[in-house]
Structure formats: C-alpha cells, structure tokens
Amino acid sequence: MLSCEEATDWELETGENGKLVVDAILTDEIDHQKIRLSLSYDELNGIAPKVLDANVWVEVNGAVFPFTADENNFGLYISDDPFEVLNNLNYQLNIEWQGQLYQADSKLSTVFPIPAITFEQRTDSTLTFQEVPFLYNPNQQAMYEMEIDWSHLSNDSITRAKIVFFTFSTLQESELIRPSRETVIFPKGSRVFLTKYGLNEDFAEYLRALAIEIYWDGGAFYSASSSLPTNISSDALGYFSTCAVLRDTLIAE
C-alpha cells in the first residue's frame, strides 16, 4: 500500500550528445599513465562511442608526455613513457580532436594513509562491505576503488566486484539517508585490491556531484539534479585530475 518503486520505461528527450568525454586520473606512481576518451550518448544504457583519433599529450614544466591510442583497447590512451606526477607542478592535459583543442589543468593532491578496512559478516558467513565510516572527514577527501575477486573460491558467473566510495569534507542530506544500494556479497577469503586516491578540492567537488547524482539520488531526500562540473575546456565533459594514490591488497575476513 505504501511506497512502491518499480522499473519503468521512460521516454527521454535527447540533447546535443556526441561531446568529448575525458576520463583521466594521473597518479604519483611511476607508470604508463592512462587516459580514456569517449563520446556522450543518448540512451541510458547506450554504449559510449570511443574516440580513436585524438592527439593527446600532457605538459608539465616545459616537458611533454605524449599519449598513444591503445589498439587493443579502443578509447584508451597510454603515455609513451612511464612518468609520475610530482608535487606543486601544474599538469596540463591537451587533446586535439577534430580540429578542436581541449585543455585542462590539475595539481597533485595529497593522500593520507588507508584506514583499517573491515567487512561485515552476514548470517550465512559471507561478507559485505559498509562504507559508512568513510563518509566524512574534514581534512582528507578521498576516493576509494575496491576490487574484490573470489574467482579462486567460486565457479559462479559473478566472481568479481568493483566498488567505488568516497570521503568528503561535507555532508549531504541525500548522503545521510541514502537509497537502497545493491549489496555486494562475497565469500571469506576473497582477494581485495584497494586503491585510495587523495583528492584536491576541485576534483572532490566533481566526485561529490557524481555521488549525488548516481549513488545518493533516489532516496527519500533527493535534491534537484544538475550536470556535473568539468575542468575540460571547449564544452567537453568528464574530468582530468592528478592524484596521489595508495594501494593495498588484503584478504577479506
């Protein structure tokens, strides 16, 4: 009788899609850095068209790091040489595509140690993860990527999971009373690969908007929707950031 939510077909008006989307996080680890380029699309479950023919390079302090499209992974651009993002330098991303130059700047953030990660045991002895303790920290904003693999323990069709969660220095109504979220269940002994990205203010602002729109929207206390901000010029979408990262591998117990 009360509060029914159900899947529905909803006709959406489409806008001017086909805009360049930048998905780029450079890290302070010496590695071949990666940038993903795609286009925006009309449908909710549409496939993002890949951008294959862009010229991509990063400039810093007079040095240029060119990126080359990965022929095995369309839309992915990998730096020709490994490099690390250094502190206090301004990194400028340049993308030349279809006669248009797209640019964005970023400075390295700092990252604080990874706090203790614990898993919640369910009645059937499987595990799940609650990110509530990570929601708020006034001094260190962060994004966590947690990849969980239990392929060595199970032959089920789904044996991997990727969970993204955040720590912000602000609180939102919709964050505190969030909508029901898919429960990711995995067995004890699963391998957990955790990456923590330190966030500067601007990137945190982008990710906070992202969380509002896709993780916290749909609960009882929802707010007016808006497009996410971007730091890419020329009406492109997405974000370019440089993050200090920490990684950890653990066995879920």
Binding site: Y136, E173, Y215, G218
Partner: protein, 862 residues
Amino acid sequence: MRKPGFILFFLLGSVYWAQAQHTANITIDVSNVPLNEVLNEISRQSGADFSFNPQQIDPQQTISYKVKNARLERALTILCKKINSEYTVIEGQIILKLIKEKDLPLFYTLSGFVGDKTTGESLIGASVSISGTPRGVFTNAFGYYSIQLEAGPHELVYSYVGYELEREKIELKTNVVKNLSLKSVPIDLPDVIIGLSLKTKLESRHAGEKELKPNELLNMPEFAGESGLVKGLQSLPGVKIHSDGSAFFYVRGGERDQNLVIIDDAPIYNPSHLFGFYSTVIPDFAKSIKVYKSDIPTDLGDRLSSIVSIRTKDGNLNKFEFSGAINPLINRFSIETPIVKKKGSILVSWRRSNFEWLYRKTAPESKIGFGDFNFKWNHKLNRKNRIFFTTIFSGDSFTNSVNNTGIGWANFAMTLRWNHIFGPKLFSNTTIYTGNYGYRLSFANNIWQSGIGTLSFKTDFTHYLSPQYKAKFGLESQGYFINPGIFTLDPSIGILPEINANSSRKFTLYYQGTYEFSKRLKARAGLRMVNWSNQGPATWYRFDENHTVQDTVNTGVGEYHNYLKLDPRFSIQYDLDSTSQLKSSFGWYHQYLQLISNSESPFTSFEVWLPASPNIKPQAAWQLDLSYLKYLTKPKLELTAAVYYKKYFNQIDYRPHPTTLLNPLIEGELRFGSMHSYGLELMLKKELGRLNGWVGYTYSRVKRNTPGLNNDADYPAFQDRPHDFSMMLNYRLKRRTFLSAYLTIFSGSTFSAPTGFYTYNDQTIPIFDEKNNGRLPSYQRLDLAIKFILNKNPEAKYKHSLTFSVYNFLAHKNILFVNFNKIPRDDAKPVVKANLFNETALTASQTDLIRFFPSLTYKFKL
C-alpha cells in the same frame, strides 16, 4: 439677493397645493442650473408655492436634478436630499428649511459578542444586520461586533451558517451592548442548515481570502483517520500540494517556505506529522481556518504567498463535553469543561498514533509514532476583559532501536492573549506568543539538531470610527532565534564545522482602513512597516561576485544590519448587483525568513532556516488580482473567478550541487533571482442541500529566472503545474448516511530529466540541459467515504458515528520521482548499482507512495 437678516418668501402659487400633491407628476432633467430655476419649474408643473430663508438656502446654488413622472412628494424628497434640507407643508405652501447639524440623526453604537447558545463558544464571522436595510457587520476573530446606528427603533438580525437565525428589536437611545447567543442546528444535516442572505454573503467575502470551515474539513474523505489541513487546503483553487504524504503546499506559484501557518497567532514552522501524512492541527481543536492568498491584511505577515490563520476553540463555557475519534492508526480525545460557568473554560485535546502494530512483524526494531497535546484556557474577567491561554505541543519520532538511527521533530507554541474593550468603538487584542520548532536526526552516535524560535509581543486595535469607516492598527515586536544546525558526531569520524546560532529582531507597525463609499463600493487600504535587524555578536562573511569569501566580519553585541521595508496594500470591492461582486487588490509583501533546502523531496528533511542578513536581502513580491463572485439564485450556486499576476524578487536558488548542510559559508551556495506567476482560478460551490460541495479548476504558470543558472533563461519552477482540477461532493444518501467523494487531477511537477549520458570510470553519468525540462505524469486521486450517524435521535446526548474512507480509491500511481541510477531486481525494488562490474543494465525507476488506503474511524461526543 442675499443680505443678513433679510427674509424673502418666494410665492410661486398657493391655491391648489393639496390637489396638486395628489394629481401632478413632475418631470425635470437639468444639470448645473441655479436652484431657483428648479423651484420655478416644480412650481410650474405642480402649482405649488415655495418659501424659504435665502440666507440658509442659496437660491443661486447650482444643482443637477432629474425626476421622471414623479409625484410631488417624491420630487421634493429628492430635491431636499440634494440641498440638505427638509420640507413641510403648511396651508398648501411648501416651506424649505436647512437641516442644521443638531437636526442630523443621532448615532449610537451597538456592540457586543455573538456566541453559541449551547457551548458559549464565540462565533467568528457571524452577521449582525439591520432588517430591511443593507447595513450590517461581522463579528471579528473573537466574536465581537460594533455598529453605529441612528437613534430609534431597529430590528437586528443575527445569523451564522449552521445556526438558527435570531431577530431582536431594540430602541437605541444610547450606546448599547448586546451579547447574543445563537442556537446551532443538529450536526450533520447540511440540508437544514440555515444559509446566509445573499447580501450577507457578498459582504462577508474579502478578496483573496478563503475560509476552510473545520466542518468542511471533517466532511472530506479521510486518510487513515483524518482529513488533514493540507489536504483541505489543496482543495482550494490556487493551492497545490507537493505530493502524497507531504505537508508542503504552494500558493499561487510561491515557494513552500512562503506560507505561514499560525495557530492563535503563534507560528507553526512544520505543521506536519509522519512526514506530512497528518497535520499538527487537531481537527476538533480548530474553530476557524482562514487562508489569505492575496490582499493579506496588514496585521499579518511576513510571507510572500499565504497566511493560514487558525483560531482554536475556546472550550465549552456551559457544560462538560468529551469527544474523540478512534481509528486503528490514530486516536484523539478532547475534553471541554467550564471552570466558572459562562465565564471560564478549558479545552484539552490529545492525539496519538498507534500504528506500531503495522510494523511489529516487518520491522520490530522500529519505533514510529507521533503525538499532540493542545490546551486552551479562557476566562471572562468582566464585560470588558477576557484572557486566553493556548499551548500546543506536537512531536514525531521515527527511530530504529537497533542501530540508533532516526528522525524526530517537535513544535511548541504558546499564546497568552488579553481582549479588552476600551469602548463600544474600540476593541483591542494584546498577545504574547512563542513558536518553536526543533528537528533532530540521529544515526549511530551522530546527531544533527536544528531549530528556530520566536518570541513576540503584539497589540492590535480595531476602531469602528463611523458607520462607513473601520480601522485596524497595531504594533508587533518579535525576536527570532535560529540554530541553523549543529552536529554531534562520533569523534572517531571527525569533527564537524561549528555553525553559530543567530538572532534577529523584527518591529512592525501597521494600519489599515476600510471605507464604504456607498452601499456598493467599499475600499480597503493599509500599510505595514517592518524594521528587521540582525543582532550580534555574530560572525558573517562577505562574498565577492564569484561567491567566494572576501572578508570575515565579527560583530559585537547589538544590531549590525537592518532592513526597513514598507508594504502598501489596497483593495476595492464593488457590488454589481445584489448577486454579484467585483474585487481587485494590489499589495506588496516582504519575507525575512527562508527555508534553505535544495531538496525536492516531499518529506520534511533537514530544516535550515536563515534570516534576512547582509548577504540575503528580504524576499519581496507584489501581486495584482481581480476576482468576480456571482450567486446563481435558482440552483443556489456560488461562482468565483479570479485572475492574478505576481512578481517575486530576491528569490533563493542554489548553485548546482550545493552544500546546505553544516556549511558555515552556506550563503555562498545561494543564488538570487526572480520569479513570476499568473493564473486563473474558478470555483463553483453549492453550500447547502442534500447534494453539496464544490468544483474548482486552476490554470497557472510559474517561471523562475536566476542569473548564472540555466544559461540565464527562464525555467519552470518545480511547482509549475498548469492544470489543476478538484471536486468535492457530499451527498446525503439517507437521513443518517452520508457519502463524500473528493477527486483531484493536476499536472505533474517538473524535474530535471537527463538528455544524455556519458561514462566515467565505469559509471554512467547523466547529462542535464535545461533546468526542469521534464514533467512527471499527472496526479489523479479519488477519495471516497461513507459516514453512518449511529444515533436515531439527532438531539441524543451521546452522539456517535462511523466513517469508512478509502484514500486513492482508484489506486492510481501518483509518481513522486523518477530515477535513472538503479538496477532492477526480481520481485524487489530497484537499487542503486554498487558493483561496477555488474553487467545488469540500468533502468528508469519510478516511485509512488499510496495506491489504496482504507480506514475506519469511530467518532463520538458526550
């Protein structure tokens, strides 16, 4: 011609006066001619002679005079009115004599209270009229009336809807105090209820004001035991609810925080229970509910859209009364009893939810409930003094005892009032009141609390200056104390920023005069002057044009900023004939308190109120409206039509994804723009009869414009819903069986729908173009109720009834919101995608709240 002491007798004919009086008919049509020409012409046509003193009556004064085929007597009466004279006939000669000041009729004041004969309850808006004349007055909010009448005999007619009409003959030789009690007809018999005369009805209506009678509210089909204030308001043209389960409402396009609900003058900041399913107003406690949508009287304010003024019952002055209602979900009880018979009484109401049993199986850890306690005491000290004391407490609590998570809020209001009659022409009402609201949210060891409190002193006077002129004036001094939100956080998580409480003062002077230019034309004009000041010590921030902090200002004790605003208001009312009326009003309004929330949720959430301050200018609006009222006598229908245009300034908007919670720099998240709304409201009402009710339709639009948002273009507001139709019908099926039906259909709310998507780090991100470019499906709801009066004898001492209601009988899915970030599940609600490797496709999902909700309520009165 004119010399002192000189008396000139005009002799224009004398012989056939008596005969002429009966036989001659006069026809004259002249403009701006000397009086003596008119007299000559009358003499010529009638043969009558005139004599008068030219020192008193100037024969050269110019007059316009028109009579057609009139008898001499009638012609002379009209002439004498024009030259302020009277005539006498002595021996066939017409002698004109100037009416001196002392000859003018003497006026005396008739005043008093009108009340209910059985309970002693004062009646608000009862009519006191003079039989055979269009003159009359209405009792004020305390049942008091005052009217000036010529000395001599009069027949008074006292009337009030639902009461037997009373006639009283009086001989006015001096000022008279006349208290009168009317006898109510048995309840629940709308076909025998006494209606008001058309003239009285016309007089009683004020532009922009709608009265929602508690009985009308009680007759509406219920949701889980009660009709609810907001549901009742929603049935009025121009008022729109947010959605099911919401206490938010929008009036003529205004925002939800631009309405003020006051109970006996004290503000109720959150008039809802259970997130809006119930109202904090206990139906049995209310005597009158008035909604002001325009032409808001200058003694009320300061909100841009509406004032909902609720007057509570005084309590039975004559006998003990016990009443109540029992429903599986909610119970309420009231006791009224005289303390000193006919002088003082108390009224106690108590209400509590009892739906824990609903959750006992599914969520045994949940503790969900709400309650109210209302108390009123009144005492007539003597004929000129009466005091009232009202206390209202309401609270909600929704907690989960296992994880210590929950929400709670509470209202507390108290009013101490003194009515004093200085004289028959001057009535005063002095009030001290407080209104407080607190909100609390807890999860684990973390607690959020916010609150707002008001303390006020108001003294208000009504001056019945003359038969044509009534004035209302007064002053009010208020203090506001606002806690925008403090968070007590588990220290293991972090320390939250400290948000300082703030305080403000408001001082108001107001004056309003109502003048009757003629029997048909009446006008009202007034001015409200408000001085709003922010009080230190305080810390506030100065922002630059990019909304970043430029400066931090620490102020000492005392005023550090103020606004002085004048709100003029005018209205004019013209009776086209005895059955129709045209009204127009124009008014300026300011608002000094605002609810800061970017939430579009229908539910009461984190309530953060902010005062007007150096960074937040008072919101302002002007409104022009025109309304037409027509009584169709044959089918006994009342038709009202109104058009309005409203322009709003300093309207609060938000940057995309603002942080409104626990943000010391919250003012930097705000954007300011304008808004305009316009509409047409139609209502056809049948008040009495076996079948009664009303049908309403509203066409309205409301657009916003905020520089820096939506590419600076206009966009429809959330509450922009062009079409709104509602119908309320009551039908007496049998003598003791009543059916009622309420149907409402209105356009869906706007929302920002994505116009595309992109992929970022395996996540699907929506893209939004124009703000509020989407619209939810239309809202439709049919509520039905059947009520059985269980007494065979309508005069029985113990009265009881049984009501069966169904809310949303057609089980229409009224969509609250649509999301695009969830994945479907078999036999379960969609959920937000968490595993980014999960290849299940996202789906649009929609949420509706109540599809079909039956309820059974037993009501009794002893």
